[in-house]
Amino acid sequence: MTNSLSHRSGAQARAPWLTLQRRDAIEGWLFVSPTLLGFLIFFLGPLIAIFIYAMSDWNFLSGEATFVGLANFEDALLANPDFWLVLRNSAVFALGLVPLNVALALFLAVALSRPFRGVIVFRTIFFAPVITSAIAWAIVWKFLLQGEGGPINQMLAMIGITGPNWLREPNWAMAAVIVTRVIKMVGLNMILYIAALQAIPRDYDEAAGLEGASRWQIFRLITWPLLGPTTLVIVILTTIGSFKVFDHIYQMTGGGPENGTLVLAFYIYQQGFQFFDIGYASALAIIMFVIVTILTLIQVSLRRKDDA
């Protein structure tokens, strides 16, 4: 402070260099500099680097890197059948997970948005898996879903059903990963929906109730349209989340069986850190970057419209 005062007193002759505007700029940049520096080093730099890596044939073990242009993308898009399998798996995972998650979250939120005895108990239960480590969750479910002697199959056997070897058959494994992931994450969307439901004025329902509308009509004609913006945001966030799934797959199936649960995030890890194919893994990372950027842009522009 004293510094700026002395500046001001000495500024009789010429305009002071340290104007309020300049000071704001210096302080602003100073305050954001730790975040900005970290962002440049650990995000923007690496982001540029994957574009360079992706144009090289670089095996980490041999250490030799040669420039190959777009060959890694050609490899991914045309030659490598695994890539299409991975994209198909990621799409199946997202298309299975998102509707199931959103529908269940909405159902739970509608059931739990108004107070009744025990409502907190139910909310607490449905949210508990969200704070649990994905690895811990996957360990327990892998145990429960074992083919022979697994608790779930033993219980099914008691009512006369022979359960499949859940995690050893590609289609069952995919279904198992989707369902256990939904159970883990649905609580998050549930609380977002509850918040949105509680923001809807009660008079709407009451007025409609007086007009003789049934509860289903009230939901379909009043509540559901009012939840539209929330649903859009939830759908996009959940879709992005489905592309991020890694720990769960790593621990439950390891991408198997027969690559049946090999999804994009796991495939990047596998190519980069198990097969050391840095160029190809970087090309995959760029594809993931593009997918998530498009989804983020949609989400941001939706929120803009929402604010306006």
């Binding site: 302080e27 100073l30 650990f42 680097a49 327990v140 890890y269």
Partner: protein
């Protein structure tokens, strides 16, 4: 009973049925943690016939589990404090100071907002290796603080500062408090709810972090909990189920207890970050 109370009973029954797959894994985890290897695959029973407490002792001899537990705790603590500091500084500037480039900075940060770590993990690995920090805890601290998680925290703080009334800060400015002083003495004490939300989410994220430990750590005594949990295998790579589930119980139950105590606060934090982030 009236129709309304039948109705309510039906709802409660439906919810209880739905709650089973949410509760059952936790119960079975604890139960199996106390069973012997033979009983674990015997007829399914929730209460162990023989309580095998030794599982919990063997967890600590099979791996340096106490050390790994401590690693997770202190790393999550450091990450949380650093994130609080850095994100509230940047968030404050982006909310309150008008300066050239602020818009550009926001635009840049948005690109990182939702990006999975897998996108940048390969170059980050080579950078960390070049710094000689492989098999240390540094990447587990640096990458989350400056990655997507830190950006989410920054936006959350910015949003909260924007919602605060300006008058108090302006009065402090009149009194000659520096910008740094206003941030530390006025803005920070007023933002407890946002700071708590950032702290809770950041701590849990670090506590549950898996990709970075998996890629960077190789010595057992440096492992964090999730990596340690996935490592309870015999020499054929098959899981040692009773030890693994005992260890998982030890890792999960304290978090659940804290969650039960601070349930409202924790749920609200996630709601805040989900809506604003």
């Amino acid at each position: 009973m009236t129709r309304a109370s039948w109705n309510r009973l039906a709802w409660i029954m439906a919810l209880t049925l739905l709650a089973l797959p949410f509760v059952f894994p936790f119960l079975w985890m604890v139960s199996a943690g106390f069973k012997s290897v033979t009983e674990i695959f015997g007829a399914p029973n929730l209460i162990p016939r023989v309580w095998r407490y030794e599982n919990f002792a063997e967890v600590f001899t099979y791996q340096p589990f106490a050390r790994q537990y401590f690693n997770s705790l202190y790393i999550a603590g450091v990450v949380t404090i650093l994130t609080l500091l850095i994100s509230s500084l940047a968030g404050y500037a982006l909310a309150r100071i008008r300066f050239v480039g602020a818009g550009l900075i926001m635009l840049l940060l948005v690109t990182a907002l939702m990006m999975p770590d897998e996108v940048t993990i390969i170059p980050n690995f080579f950078f960390i290796r070049w710094l000689g920090l492989v098999d240390t805890h540094w990447p587990l601290i640096l990458l989350p603080v400056f990655g997507a998680q830190g950006v989410v925290a920054t936006f959350l703080m910015r949003q909260y500062f924007l919602s605060l009334p300006k008058e108090l800060e302006e009065a402090a400015k009149m009194d000659g408090l520096s910008r740094f002083g206003i941030w530390w003495k006025i803005a920070i004490p007023m933002s407890r709810p946002a700071l708590a939300a950032v702290a809770i989410i950041t701590f849990l994220n670090s506590w549950n972090l898996f990709l970075e430990p998996l890629i960077f750590l190789s010595s057992l005594e440096k492992f964090t909990l999730p990596l340690a949990l996935s490592n309870f295998n015999d020499s054929y790579g098959l899981p040692l189920w009773n030890l693994q589930l005992a260890a998982t119980t030890l890792a999960v139950i304290p978090v659940l207890i804290i969650y039960l105590i601070a349930q409202r606060q924790i749920v609200e934090s996630f709601a805040l970050s989900g809506v604003k982030g």
